[in-house]
């Protein structure tokens, strides 16, 4: 592990409170999403990011609004952290017309171009080359945009990962690859099927990149490493890959209680929960407990409002079904 060389940007207390609020929002949103599965409002599958909030929050805080996020099917956190309101996300999970994509994408494909959320991708590895393409476009057009691309530890063994990393490196693209290493694939431990100990960091050298590992449950540390890598990319110094160590508290997806994991392992990681940890740090920094409690309460109210709004959404019909296969808005393949 090498730590970054340039000085981290200073962060004031206000910004830290925002980081706290962001993590609380993600957490409460995901908990509500879970409840709504149980109530059968959310059909299909869904992959929660509970326990991994610090990564989404830290990176989003380090990005400009014009930067781009590329997420996986475990993308609720990343979508919300970029400023997408809760209601359309929740409505999307419920398959309503007021959903982010009117129900056509679902939980695994959250996208909000307006917020720089350039898609959530459900095929392992696919979005790494796509993020390269966005970064290439920024480079070509001479904008200062950076693409940040998140993926899991299990995703480092698929071909597209390899092609994208080499491609980004040789073209010096403004892209930051972020491996959220939560130790597990679906039900298999990544270390059992991966030839190196740190799935992303130990492969950085194969692409001429620095090996960077960060505590993914420490939002300040994440912010720091994110800011450095993004600044590097923006300055035309090329891609970075960051491995953030973290853990998902629940199962892989809706259907999975996550019982294959040793109880002690789950307990150990729950003790490292990024939110109580940050809570404690903020108290140490002199923030009053009631300021934090107020944030939690406000978020809870917002989640309730979003839930009601989402539930009020209409059920989509034939018109939406046959819309937007093509750029002309239609779906006709013949004259």
């Amino acid at each position: 592990m090498t730590t970054t060389k340039t000085a981290p940007p200073a962060m004031d207390l206000e910004a830290k409170l925002d980081l706290y609020r962001c993590q609380v929002e993600l957490r409460q949103f995901e908990e509500r999403a879970y409840d709504l599965f149980l109530e059968n409002y959310v059909k299909g599958t869904s992959h929660l990011g509970i326990g991994q909030e610090a990564i989404a929050a830290g990176f989003a805080a380090a990005m400009k609004p014009t930067d781009w996020t590329f997420a996986t099917y475990r993308g609720h956190n990343h979508t919300l952290a970029r400023g997408v309101p809760m209601t359309p996300v929740l409505a999307e999970l419920m398959g309503r017309t007021n959903g982010l994509m009117a129900g056509k994408g679902g939980s695994m494909h959250l996208t909000s171009v307006e917020h720089g959320v350039m898609g959530s991708y459900a095929i392992i590895g696919a979005h790494l080359p796509i993020a390269c393409g966005a970064a290439w476009s920024a480079q070509y057009r001479g904008t200062d945009q950076v693409a940040v691309c998140f993926f899991g530890d299990g995703s480092v063994n698929i071909g597209a990962f390899h092609e994208a990393l080499n491609f980004a490196a040789i073209w010096k693209l403004p892209v930051v690859f972020v491996c959220e290493n939560n130790l597990w694939m679906e039900y298999t431990r990544t270390s059992e099927v991966t030839a190196v100990e740190n799935p992303a960091a130990d492969r950085a050298a194969a692409y001429g990149l620095e090996s960077i590992i960060v505590d993914g449950n420490d939002v300040d540390a994440v912010f720091e490493v994110a800011a450095t890598a993004i600044a590097r990319a923006r300055a035309g110094e090329g891609p970075s890959m960051i491995e953030a160590k973290t853990y998902r508290h629940g199962g892989h997806s809706r259907a999975d209680p996550g019982k294959y994991r040793p109880d002690e392992e789950v307990a150990e990681w729950k003790a490292k929960d990024p939110i109580p940890r940050y809570h404690a740090r903020l108290l140490d920094l002199g923030v009053a407990e009631e300021v934090l409690v107020k944030i939690v309460t406000e978020v809870a109210a917002a989640v309730d409002v979003a839930t009601d709004e989402a539930k009020a959404g209409a059920i989509p019909g034939e018109d939406l079904l046959m819309k937007d296969v093509w750029a002309d808005g239609g779906s006709s393949w013949r004259n």
Partner: protein
């Protein structure tokens, strides 16, 4: 006899063959300890051990490459591609390598392998986890393609596929995993390339596959009440294709309807239509009609997905309209 779900039938079919042949091995993602994400392989690791039942990394090209290399050197591997949509990340190994190598080597090599995969929609998984890919595979010379519609056929066709000396793409309809039926005890062995006539009727022939089979049967019941008596054929195996049965049944009724859970273009329905209009043209009494998913990616929302995939109601309406035209 035992009540068996479709997913239990998968494991039973595989276990039956692994017991009788040591060269049968099994690999895929989360197939071992977890018993598969669809719980189709529960118990296999426990019975056959970690040397024969192996969890892999998320490396579909490696999975299928390994299956191919093993099959050309004496094993009979079964590989799982978790969702059929993921064939797209390893399509080269399937179509350029596995399908062609026997022919290219003038028969020097044989590839007795089975690739099983969760196929089709209905589970609200969205466009990248709901595709039916039987047509992708049918299009490629050198691949056999099997799609069972019930637990009994799963066992018998799985056994036949494993014993077959050619590569078989074995597609398991996700929407059917929890369907149940009575299945006899003891060895079950079926045959590839045989369609099944599930219902005889004099007015029209309805040909369906996989998850569309139960829908076709329900539609036929309704249609019968309205005075349209349908033959229903379960294709079961697209390659080899039982054209004899299909041509016979279409010629008998003079009308063909195909029910496909596939986007519109270039599917097996079109292939059947074209075979019939080339070879049984003069037996036809009216247009051949294909009922398919529209030519769109599958949407995630339940309401939209239900509109997209052919329903009993759509089958009934379409057949009725065409028969009364």
């Amino acid at each position: 006899m035992a009540q068996l779900t479709f997913r239990e039938a998968i494991a039973r079919g595989i276990a039956q063959e692994m017991r009788r042949d040591e060269s049968v091995v099994f690999l895929g993602e989360d197939v071992g300890a977890a018993g598969g994400v669809f719980k189709g392989t529960v118990g296999l690791l426990e019975e056959f051990g970690g040397v024969r039942v192996r969890d892999t990394p998320i490396s579909e090209q490696a999975i299928l490459g390994a299956a191919m290399g093993a099959s050309m050197t004496g094993l009979r591997p079964i590989a799982e591609i978790m969702f059929a949509d993921f064939f797209a990340v390893c399509w080269d190994i399937v179509v350029n390598e596995i399908a062609k190598s026997r022919y290219m080597t003038n028969g020097q090599m044989t590839f007795p392998l089975v690739i099983r995969s969760g196929n089709g929609g209905g589970l609200r998984f969205g466009a990248q986890h709901s595709q039916s890919v039987e047509n992708w595979a049918m299009m490629i010379p050198g691949l056999k393609v099997v799609v069972p519609s019930n637990a009994l056929d799963v066992i018998g066709l799985m056994a036949a596929s494993i014993r077959d000396d050619d590569p078989v793409i074995f597609l398991e309809e996700k929407a059917l995993y929890s369907s149940k039926m009575e299945v006899p005890d003891g060895e079950i062995l079926d045959q590839l390339g045989l369609a099944k006539v599930l219902r005889q009727g004099g007015d029209a022939t309805v040909v369906a596959l996989g998850n569309m089979v139960p829908k076709a049967l329900l539609a036929a019941e309704e249609l019968a009440l309205a005075g349209i008596d349908c033959t229903v054929v379960d294709v079961r195996s697209l390659v080899p294709l039982d054209t004899a049965t299909i041509l016979r049944e279409v010629s008998a009724t003079g009308r063909l309807f195909t029910i496909e859970e596939n986007p519109r273009l270039c599917g097996w329905g079109a292939e059947l239509s074209s075979i019939v209009s080339e070879e049984a043209f003069y037996d036809l009494d009216g247009p051949i009609v294909r009922i398919t998913t529209p030519h769109i990616p599958l949407p995630a929302a339940d309401a939209l997905e239900d509109l997209a995939i052919p329903s009993v109601e759509r089958i009934v309406t379409t057949v009725t309209k065409s028969m009364n035209a």
